[in-house]
Symmetry: C2
Subunit: 135 residues, 2 copies
Amino acid sequence: MFLTLDLNSEIPIYTQIRNQVVMAIAKQELKEGDFLPSVRQMAADLGVNLHTINKAYNILKQEGFLTVHRRKGVVINPTDKYKAEKEYYKNLKEQLEIITSEAVCRGLNSEEINKIIVDIIKDLNNNERGRENEC
Amino acid sequence: MFLTLDLNSEIPIYTQIRNQVVMAIAKQELKEGDFLPSVRQMAADLGVNLHTINKAYNILKQEGFLTVHRRKGVVINPTDKYKAEKEYYKNLKEQLEIITSEAVCRGLNSEEINKIIVDIIKDLNNNERGRENEC
DNA sequence: ACATCTGTTATATAATATATATAACAGATT
DNA sequence: AATCTGTTATATATATTATATAACAGATGT
């Protein structure tokens, strides 16, 4: 399982799960058509409540990342289901305004921030390799 | 006042205030030695409770952005008080990993993300001009 | 047909976070 | 001495987060 929880984190469990699924999709550890465990199964695996998983899945569903089927479980959507749209860009910009402002305050410039992002994307692609036998 | 609140937002009021102060520092609308209104004054201005402002100020204090004096009110710190340090970099990277992963999922590449950040920083500097007679 | 596993929905409960309302204290200013 | 500071302490209300049970209906496998 690619999921690890920090129960002491201020970030809610359902948000941690949502974030890690998105990161797994970005790394292509999860691809179109891949299945996630059922809410009950993942709840058992992680030792949390069914509703916590259900909330995370419903957010991901609402965001377009996955589709939910009875019995089968949860399926990662094809990428065209979660293409960037107007509302997403607005939200992204708002988030980056806050983060970038603090970074600028603390003396970083756009090149340094860009380097961090380039490195993150590089890492996403590195993790892509050598992981064929998972899930 | 450079502060506007969205009471319907899911973002807590004290977090909105914290973020807007950081953005104001980034825009240099607030500079070293500038004063912020007292907790009571800003609470009255914004129509919220004293403790909500106090919480925002204490977070900003803890983050190094300002110092609190009795009577005088609240003073923006010199920039060396909130230089980027190890812990901040770790936190910044964690935040950007999540945001960048989602952006990559939605089809953006590092150039496009970088452009958004460059534009944000450009806007921060634009707002710097023509605002001499504020506060 | 039947049992079983799905997601889903509904309640209830508890703990924590957020926000407000008052009050009081101690330091600093005027 | 009066006033304005930040600070601290309670109390209260609401919302969020997380858990605990239970039940329902659709789909699957036997």
